[in-house]
Structures are given as structure tokens and as C-alpha cells.
Symmetry: C2
Subunit: 398 residues, 2 copies
């Protein structure tokens, strides 16, 4: 199975991305829709932040029923902390697409991303929906992915094809998000569509299985969005046999592959990021310990600025390992950066630091921490903390 970072046609779905004028920047796409030919099995996960955006409240309720016909996503406003007016706005937004499609409103999931605390202009939104519906096309997945961007520098798209259940199946996904990212449940906004014939209950299980190694394994700034949403829709147009056994396992692997690729691209495009760093913690007493440590390293501003500075700063890594609250034996700690062992048996390999610093100049490298205590392991993907992160976030307006 090969995952490509490009769009694909997925039978049973059409897409659009248009300029509706919700954003300040003129001519910037800000409204995207995904439309299935009919109501199809769907499942999703949403932010665990206690402050939930209105569209998250509306969509999570609708997805729970197991079927969707369409998804409508706007950027420019998160429609969060907008009270009852925000709920009404999310409902009216979805309704405008439902009316155009001639389907029940509850079959349309609204999603929003952008600044918090503001409503957007419903009339502009409605006009945008009309134009989006007019522009629907099977080839427009890339346009959709572009319309939902905020501080992203590029759309994040991944797709794959595989044979299963006697049919050729396609899976395509896209995601947006560059800041306020440490999802824990799902990333800011991610959408995966497939033409596989698969039941809602199977989709739910698959999401649960793939989250820990995809969207929940990345962090940009340790901040969890109020709008995190992952939706998976399956049209069934591939007409495959019911997915069981190895077919089901292969399908899950393929969806997981697309999700991992999207999560990786999200992190690579983290606000101000110049590097993608994969953090592997091994040899922990258990997986939970390993994850705690991986997360502390991945979120430490001191470690992340050292990544930016190509500084093989072992001390900060040891600090982050130690502050996770997990019992460790510092005398056994082994640490590799870019494949070069910089510490082992409780001592720094001073001679290795220059070479490790050179490796850190690459756009992508790995950090491996081996605790030598057991078999628990975990992986997190993170990016560096650069001047541009500060620039983007000190200047991004309320």
C-alpha cells in the first residue's frame, strides 16, 4: 500500500472550494463542501476541550446517528464562544446546503475554523454555498482542501488505493491546522472519504484504532483546539463485498496510512516550523509511561527551540524526560539524535555532538530515547519552535 500526498477521485463524492468573502483577504477560498451522492455511513471524533465550538456541538450530535450526506466547512471564523446565536448560525449554515441538495438538515455536518468569539455573515455564507454547489466536481478535492486552510501554508492531502472484497477501493483525506494543535482526540479539521462499502460501526472502530498513531501522535504547540474534528465518510460506490477478516484489517491499515500521512503533513506545516521531528520513546515500563515522556519532550519549548537552533542539547531532553513524573533510571538512559548516539549509560557522548548537530540541519530527523526499563514504547511527531511561530502568533489578529 502506497500513500500519496495528492488528491484522488473517490466514487460517490463530489467536492468544491469557493470564495465567499467570510475572510478579510479578498479572493481567498474560505468555504468548502463535500457532498455524497446519497446519505452514506459516517463516523467522527471531536475535540475534548471543554469549550466546544457551536459546529462541534451540532455536528457531533448529527454524526452520532451514523449517516451524512454532506459536510460544509468554512474558514475565517471558528464560530466558538458565540452562545445560542452560534448554534443557530451553525444550524442555518448547514440548512442552506441541505436545502440546495434537497436533503434533511440533520444529514449535513457544519464545521468552522478561524478566530474565536465572532459570528460570520450568514448571507455571504449562503451565497457561497450556492456557488459551491454549482461548482461541485469529483476532481475538486484539492480545492476543498485549500478552502479550509487558516495559517496553513499549504493544503494537506493524502490518498491511497487498494484491492479488497473483490473491488478496487480508494481512500482520500485532507486536513488543516498549523497552530493550536495537540489534538488528543482528533486534529483541528480532518476529512477522510472512501468509496469502500463499510458499516458505520466499522468506521467507528477503525477511527478508535488509528487515532493513537496518527492525529493523537502529533503536537505543534500543545494547545488543544475548540474545533478539532475528524469525519470519515464512506460512499460504498466500490461495491466491494462486506469487509471482514484480512480485508477489514487491510482497509483499516489503509485508512490509518492516510491518517498518519495527514498528521505528519500537519506537523511539518506547523506554525513557523522548519523541521519535522519524530520522537520515539522505547524501553519504558509500559506504553502509557512512554507516551507521557514523548509528549513532554514534544511540547517542551526548550527542546523545540533547540531543534530550531540545530543544537543537540541533551540537557533539555533529559529535563523533559525527567519532568514527565515517570520513575526512570537516569544512569541507564540512552539518547540518539538523527541516528547518532549522544548519551548512553548516564553519560553524554561529547564527541558525538557535532555530528548530531549536523544531522539536525535536515528538514526531518528522529530522536530516540531508550529508558532500558521494559518494552513500553510510543511515538510523537513534533516540529521546532522558531521566530516565525512567535511572529505568526503575535500578529494573528483577534
Amino acid at each position: 500500500m502506497e500513500v500519496r500526498l495528492e488528491p484522488a477521485v473517490v466514487r460517490g463524492f463530489r467536492f468544491a472550494g469557493v470564495v465567499s468573502g467570510l475572510r478579510k483577504e479578498p479572493n481567498r477560498k474560505d468555504l468548502g463542501i463535500i457532498v455524497a451522492d446519497t446519505a452514506v455511513p459516517a463516523a467522527g471524533v471531536f475535540t475534548t476541550n471543554r469549550v466546544k465550538a457551536a459546529p462541534v456541538i451540532v455536528s457531533s450530535e448529527r454524526v452520532r446517528r451514523g449517516q451524512l450526506r454532506a459536510v460544509a466547512v468554512n474558514s475565517g471564523s471558528a464560530n466558538c464562544f458565540t452562545g445560542k446565536a452560534g448554534i443557530k448560525l451553525a444550524e442555518n449554515s448547514a440548512a442552506s446546503l441541505a436545502t440546495a441538495l434537497g436533503c434533511e438538515p440533520r444529514l449535513v455536518a457544519p464545521c468552522s475554523t478561524g478566530v474565536i468569539g465572532h459570528l460570520y455573515d450568514l448571507e455571504k455564507y449562503r451565497a457561497g454555498i450556492a456557488s459551491a454547489v454549482a461548482g461541485l466536481g469529483a476532481e475538486n478535492f484539492g480545492e476543498f482542501a485549500r478552502a479550509i486552510m487558516t495559517t496553513d501554508t499549504r493544503p494537506k492531502i493524502a490518498s491511497t488505493r487498494l484491492r479488497l472484497g473483490g473491488a478496487e477501493v480508494t481512500i482520500a483525506g485532507c486536513a488543516k491546522g498549523a497552530g493550536m494543535i495537540q489534538p488528543k482526540m482528533a486534529t483541528m479539521l480532518a476529512f477522510i472519504v472512501t468509496d469502500a462499502k463499510v458499516r458505520t460501526a466499522q468506521l467507528k472502530t477503525i477511527i478508535k484504532h488509528i487515532l493513537p498513531t496518527s492525529f493523537n501522535a502529533v503536537t505543534v504547540d500543545g494547545d488543544m483546539s475548540t474545533n478539532d474534528t475528524l469525519l470519515v465518510l464512506a460512499s460504498g460506490a466500490a461495491e466491494n463485498r462486506a469487509l471482514v477478516g484480512r480485508d477489514l484489517a487491510n482497509f483499516e491499515k489503509a485508512v490509518g496510512g492516510v491518517a498518519e500521512a495527514l498528521a505528519r503533513e500537519l506537523t511539518r506545516d506547523g506554525e513557523g516550523a522548519t523541521k519535522l521531528v519524530t520522537i520515539d520513546v522505547r524501553g519504558a515500563r509500559n506504553a502509557a509511561d512512554a507516551e507521557k515522556i514523548a509528549r513532554e519532550i514534544a511540547n517542551s519549548p526548550l527542546v523545540k527551540t533547540a531543534f530550531f537552533g540545530c543544537d543537540p542539547n541533551f540537557g533539555r531532553i533529559a529535563m523533559a524526560v525527567g519532568k514527565a513524573g515517570v520513575p526512570i533510571n537516569a544512569d541507564k538512559l540512552e539518547v540518539s539524535l538523527g541516528g547518532i548516539k549522544i548519551a548512553s549509560r548516564g553519560a553524554l557522548n561529547v564527541d558525538a555532538l557535532t555530528a548530531a548537530g549536523e544531522k539536525m540541519k535536515e528538514a526531518e530527523f528522529g530522536l530516540i530515547v531508550d529508558l532500558k526499563q521494559g518494552k513500553g514504547q510510543a511515538r510523537m511527531m513534533t516540529c521546532d519552535l522558531s521566530f516565525d511561530y512567535v511572529k505568526i502568533n503575535a500578529e494573528y489578529t483577534t
Copy 2:
């Protein structure tokens, strides 16, 4: 009681700060000592990071006995992750001062701060101790405070005087630390000396009482040092009556005042900081909930970059409130920035944002979050996240 940000003479103690050559920068003070006339009651708290520096291991053991004669502190190397050689180095370092003073080695507490993973030159250290002992003086508290600095831009000193137990008592403290600061147990390095006559057990209780509102209430980057140490020494030279009742309460309040002033100055001098922000969370169900939320806000890179940009970005504050994992009612949330209410009853006061942004240009302002759920409250002090934080930490060498 007035706390002044200046040194004081504390009877029974002498101080020194000298250049010993442990640091790369020539002529930079890097070794400080505090010497009591005799062994005196002492108490301390240390980092809870699982990776503990050698001097933390040695000093915490020694302080547990309740008495110290002297403290020796070097900057330039944290002597952490240095294995058995590091322990030996810390012991030998302390021994050199003990020898010069003619006291038992266990009465000298060694402390270190600086880069992790490296040993320092014991011969240079010993020469430095000789020069420090020769330069001991009652007036040299400021020199000591300067010698223990790392990325600090200035020494942090606070002192106060009060009458209690029939005597005039002085309390003076200093602290260092600008990055890797979210102490939870104590700050990186802080020392408080007093001429009050007070028992070790009383000092221990006082430390426990004052920590939550002083060193444990500040954060620069959410990173916890491997070397955090707070030591309190009391010479008894004031010859006050035994401290009980109101005298004891007043003494605790005075020590707390000095500790709070030091914690505040630490935060104000946080790496790259341009602003000191006091975060008050009120109306929580209990104090623990309030602290969780205050800590999330104080550590959020998105909130801290908004502080830097003078951006009254309510959305990021709401996001941080929500991600603390505490049940809240977003429709009741009330938020003030610089005394200006920017949100109340679940809605943003858009008209107030410009004025709030103006207030944020000041070097110090407050953020108040009222959850309207109960009486729980907590305070955290934090600083902004600026270009200089990234600059300092991307360039600070291993």
C-alpha cells in the same frame, strides 16, 4: 511590612561572589558562597524532576539533617546527568569550602546551575573558593546574587525588616532563573537568609506554607529544571524570643513576602520576557480546578505570544480554559484583561478589545478569569513569549 528589591546586611552571615573561570565568558562572576558564622538551622526544597542534578542529590541529603554552615553555588555547569563522577565533583566542591572554613563537609550544601551533561574543572573551582573565602563580607549579598546568574539579565534580590519576639529581624533572599522555569517545588536556585532565631522544624513548615503563592505560582516556559533548589538559613543573631503565635505568623508572612517578590522578579526577567502577567482564576468549584486552569493559561504558547503582540485574543484564553479538563460553563465565563472586561456571559465584548489591547502595552497587567461556579481561586504569574525567547534558546549552546 515593606519588601524592598535590594540587598540587606543579615547578622550572622557573610557572602562573596567571584570569577573562577568556570564560564566561557572571561571576567564573569560564576561562583558564590554564603557562610554563616556557625552551623545554623536550615531547611530546603528541591526539584521533583526525576532527573536530579548531582548537587541536588548531595544537598537534599545534607539539608535533611537540619543544619548548614555554608552554601557554595556555581553557574556555568549544572553538574547534572554526570553520574558518579558528578556526585564526587559536588562532594569535592563542597569539601573545598568546608576545609577553608574548618567545618565538617556535611555542613556545606553545593548547588550548580548551567548546562547539563558536563563536569566542571575542580581546580578552577577550588581556586575560586579560596578567592571567595578571602573576599567574604557582610555587605556582599549582591555580589553573591550576581555570581549565580545564567541567562538572567539582572540579579533578583529582595529583603525586609520587622520587629518580632522583642528584636529587629532581617530577611534577605535572592534567586536566579530565567528559563526552564515552572518549579512546582521550588525555583531553579533561591536562597533566603535571616538573622531570626527560628527552629529547623519551623523553617520547614514555613517553606511548605509559602511555596504555593511564591515559587510554585510562576512559570516562564512550563519546563521544570533538574536543579531547582530553595534553601533558607537562619543565623539566630537577632536574639529574638522563641517565635510563637503572632510573632511566628508575622515572620512567615515576611519570609513569604520576600519569596513572592523574588518569584515575581524571576518571571519579569523570564527569557525574552517583555511583560509580567498576573493570572487570577476565580469562581472555580475549588482551588485545585482554579490552579489547573491558571496553569494552562500561563503555559499556553498561543496565549503567551498574544501577550507579546498586545493582542487581547480572547479565543486563545477560552481555548486554554477549556483544555484544562475541568468542567466549566462557557456561557457564564467572564474575562478581564488589564481591568477591562472583554467577555461576559458567554459573549465577547468586541467594543472593549481596543482598550484592552492598549492596556496590554504596559509592562505589567492582570488577566482575570471568573468561572462563576464557586469560590475556588488561584494565581499564577507568567511572562510573554517573544522573539528573544526563541533567540536565546536557539543559540544557547550545549
